[in-house]
Subunit: 405 residues, 2 copies
């Protein structure tokens, strides 16, 4: 019998009615002749609420206790989903991360899976039952409860699929798959039937909201077949696959964008070895999450260094630069939060020179100024004014032939 792992995120189980809908979906999967294992996240915004509650109680929040607190969320969702399954005549048992056999390291709030011992899951499946697992949970080698971090439920699902040699790992979201661009910005965006791991990783890193990057990396390493689809329809979604070298690759598969970052520029920096290292070491030390980094060519021995950070880190990032400005001999520090990033992604870019040039031309043709550029083998990203991001995404989506006809 085929074995399907189905992961439902917080939005899919946000209230009693949606939990019943998810149960209905799982019940149908079983009645169509599949074995099923379900992974659930906490209901709706519950994880955020638990974190807020902790903040109301104490300014000291040890990782061990935060993980104990947060994992209460999935515990509720999984027990409720089991009840809903029982009411549909589908025998189901809930399992905490620990009961499901997830052994992790002791790195609280962001634990890594060390081993998965799925004996209880297998036993439940063999007994004709549906295991419902609390996502993003485990028990550490010190026997403490651990949380795998935000998006950890995707990782749980992928790991279970690998360990049980499942036939597919279905990640249910509130959209019907992975799109060539955000449909809210680009009405003619298409759902992609398939996407390569490489492409999806680049898309996730540049603003496509799901699935969680770590789970995609695990899925690739373990050869798990991912299927990103909607909890609200029965339509197929997007399969995530290893690239097939025999297939003709789209030059550009998708256009993504990200409006969550801001730019910091340190100008007039002496072009000497060690300056950049000093700066970014210091930023890392205070936990500022630097994304793109661009350093211009030197002009008369001085250069400008620009980088982007999440908007939440902007004040701290700017502070660090200002503090270091004297020491590194910089002339000035400026910041700008009215920026956005647009990226084109495609496995075929590797063998097609000139794609980046086309991107720049399209943007220029729209009168959109490019402020920073960064590239990888299968991605080119440009930072533009935030107010022009919609126009940038739409024009690139059309220019690279992605619009639905």
């Amino acid at each position: 019998m085929p074995l399907v792992i189905q992961k439902f995120g917080g939005t899919s189980v946000a209230d009693p009615e949606r939990i019943r809908e998810v149960a209905d979906h799982v019940a149908r999967t079983v009645r169509h002749g599949n074995d099923a294992v379900v992974v659930v996240s906490a209901m709706g915004k519950e994880t955020d609420e638990l974190i807020r509650l902790a903040g109301d109680v104490s300014h000291v929040r040890p990782g061990r206790e935060m993980d104990m607190l947060i994992t209460a969320g999935e515990r509720k969702a999984m027990a409720l989903l089991c009840m809903a399954l029982h009411s549909l005549g589908v025998p189901a048992d809930s399992f905490t991360g620990s009961q499901a056999g997830f052994i992790t390291d002791t790195n609280h709030s962001n634990a890594k899976i060390v081993e998965l011992r799925p004996d209880r899951l297998r036993k439940a499946i063999d007994a004709g039952r549906v295991p419902v697992i609390g996502g993003a949970q485990g028990v550490s080698t010190d026997h403490d409860v651990t949380f795998l971090g935000r998006g950890g439920s995707d990782t749980t699902a992928v790991a279970v699929c690998h360990a049980l040699e499942g036939d597919a790992c279905e990640l249910y979201t509130d959209v019907p798959g992975v799109f060539t661009a955000d449909p809210r910005l680009v009405p003619r965006a298409r759902r992609m039937g398939a996407v390569s791991f490489d492409e999806l990783l680049e898309m996730t890193a540049t603003g496509c909201p799901k699935p969680a990057m770590r789970s995609v990396e695990y899925a690739r390493r373990w050869g798990v077949k991912l299927h990103v689809r909607s909890a609200f329809t029965w339509e197929p979604g997007t399969w995530v696959l290893e690239e097939d070298p025999s297939m003709e690759q789209a030059i550009v598969s998708a256009v993504t964008h990200d409006t969550g970052e801001a730019k910091v520029t340190v100008s007039g920096v002496p072009d000497q070895p060690g300056i950049a290292a000093r700066l970014f070491r210091e930023l890392a030390a205070v936990g500022v999450n630097v994304d793109m980094i661009v350093q211009n060519v030197s002009d008369h021995g001085v250069t400008d260094i620009s980088f982007t950070v999440p908007k939440d880190d902007l004040v701290q990032g700017t502070d660090v630069c200002q503090r270091l400005a004297d020491e590194i001999g910089a002339v000035g520090v400026s910041s700008d939060s009215d920026i956005a990033r647009v990226s084109i992604i495609g496995a075929g870019m590797k063998s097609n020179p000139g794609v980046a040039a086309t991107m720049f031309e399209v943007l220029a043709g729209e009168g959109i100024n490019i402020e920073m550029i960064s590239t990888s083998a299968i991605r080119t990203s440009c930072v533009v004014r935030e107010g022009q991001i919609e126009q940038a995404v739409q024009s690139l989506h059309s220019a690279f032939g992605l619009d639905t006809v």
Copy 2:
């Protein structure tokens, strides 16, 4: 170093501010030179809310899943309390029932403790840390999460005190101890410095709201010293002790009352063997919780049977009687929910005949009619009109010399 077990109920940890107050209380206990182990219930009304949520999701609610759901409540409270303790500089670790070593039977929603393996608790104490345990939790011999039932946190605390050979088990409530009567009804009620296990069990069974009866039974069996006290003051509360035969015993220690029951009367029943058995077996089968039972002497071969049930069970209890009326040859079934029970309790009643007679005289003197009577060695209970219960309790409290002067 003395070891104190401190149990805080839902009211004591109902919100972030109260959690911080409890942390402050525990921190002071530790700074006064004690080792401490803390047991917490779920915050405020959270257990009720989780049960309501389950009802919104499904009409089928397997015990295994209900226990998984409900135990999320204590999990939150214990993690939050640990954070608050850390912020006061008191190192503390939370433990689920399973982590604390509570092995139970597989009787979900009302599991019994089979064994307690407190290795992790002892290790934490030896390391100078305060273990904070989720109350009413365990793991079954089948490795499933279990709930010990309502009031189970008291049982958790008593069992921990026994297993760790603690010096005292402090049950914190929102009142400063056990009173000679409900202070809301009797302004001159006194806090009792000590009460015997027998008396407390009778009081708990007849309307005194705390602590949970099962925990008192365990405490007696294991010789655990219980101290019922308030979380909001540092005053000593009420100690619960084995009766000391050398002490002079108060004839009446307390007057309790209960307005939560209703009365059902089955009249004109043939006085034949097996009739009462048939009736109460059927009531038990549908889960009606019968308390007092009174059968009058037979008059011309027929008799009346009256019994009390919780008001919530009244409709069902009456239905059962009406259904059985023909079969057992009864003439009629009537019910009455405007009743209340008043009880006098005292270990000294055993050796003082005539106490019951005094009770009846006091009530008669107040013009209060007695509708049912039931007695034990150290208790006499009377059912009266609900509207007269305040007068009944006050007059008995005065008559037996319990009023503060």
